[in-house]
Symmetry: C2
Subunit: 197 residues, 2 copies
DNA sequence: GACTATACCGCACATTTGTGCGGCTGTCAA
DNA sequence: TTGACAGCCGCACAAATGTGCGGTATAGTC
């Protein structure tokens, strides 16, 4: 069964609290957050969420809310679309979530991007892999970066060649791209995750 | 500062409770578990753990214990050494932990292995990567597997060629290895994690 | 000896927190 | 109209829970 808007909000709050504080909220804390002056209202919601198998309420136990769906683990959003000039990933452009090690999770701005094409095959980055991206505008020689070229996000290696700066694919079938006004560096690739079926 | 035996036990219990129940224990629950009839005793321990930066105690909040060290996140062990004939990874052979998405975490037997050598470079698996391994004895054509060859764990692709079965590297510099008595399949590679510095 | 840390016990108290029960207003489908 | 939901209010009560303050004992260190 689907969750109502309100229920989604409350479930999200419980999730967030567990993730950030390490323990679930009390009934009254939820009420405070959503301006419910009555504990009864909150309990109605918890009951609904429990019926829909989202949480489990443990009777007689303070903060006795257990998350059954989703999780309380650190995750980064998977970007569906990247828009130039927007430092933050807009909610609408998030396709999903991937849980990662905290070494990869970064500071909250880090996101993942599904790799399209085989232009980096020579560097062991393949179509369908997820690259973990830490947003930053500058980068160093040799680093693998995400750049926006005419509204298209691509993975390339950042290199200097003589006087120019280039984004180099790791595949002889593609040509280096000179970095100029049309190219915007989005961030640096800090990790890679691949799923085998 | 090092933890005493008792403190380790209590810290472990808090960790376990958070992981299994989804919320930290109360002072009295800890006392019950360790046969401390006084809440004061438990608070002494919590205070000690807080001093040693293992937990944080939030005043006035029920179950207000926050884990600062280690984690409550799903992680898989990183195998340092794999021994033939032992289905479970012995504690002594665990080098560390990596947190992963639950899709990768599997059922509890899954582990990670750091890749040595470049024999699978053609398949985008590079030296230093971590492959996620689900232990199993059989595997299908084309799957990437971990095999033990003369006590050495290697990553290869499982292939049939004519009448024989081979473990094929993805690098022309290496030769396929015929599967015979000397070769033991440890498991299947279900994922890959890479860290860029 | 004085001091500190660890590891316990015990009790009273105030606060936090879940619970029970009653009530209200809408909307929507049968 | 009736019924089932969603969403909300209010109150009193009992249980769960953190807190303050006191005590004992052992071990190690300066």
């Amino acid at each position: 069964m689907e969750l109502t808007e309100r229920q989604k909000e409350i479930f999200g709050y419980i999730e967030k609290t567990v993730r950030e504080k390490g323990y679930p909220p009390t009934i009254r804390e939820i009420g405070k957050r959503f301006s419910c002056s009555s504990t009864g209202s909150v309990r109605d919601h918890l009951k609904a969420l429990a019926n829909k198998r989202c949480i489990e309420c443990i009777p007689g136990v303070s903060r006795g809310i257990r998350l059954l769906r989703k999780s309380m683990y650190p995750s980064i959003p998977v970007a569906g679309r990247i828009i130039a000039g927007e430092p933050e990933l807009a909610m609408e452009n998030i396709e999903g979530e991937i849980r990662v090690d905290e070494k990869l999770a970064g500071d909250g701005k880090t996101f993942a991007l599904k790799v399209k094409g085989d232009s980096m095959a020579g560097a062991g980055i393949r179509e369908g892999d997820y690259v973990v991206v830490r947003p930053q505008e500058s980068c160093r020689e040799g680093e693998i970066v995400i750049a926006l070229i005419e509204d298209e996000a691509t993975v390339k290696r950042f290199m200097r060649r003589g006087k120019g700066v280039f984004l180099e694919p790791a595949n002889p079938a593609y040509k280096p791209i000179p970095v100029d006004g049309r190219v915007k560096i989005i961030g640096r690739v800090t990790g890679l995750i691949r799923y085998y079926r």
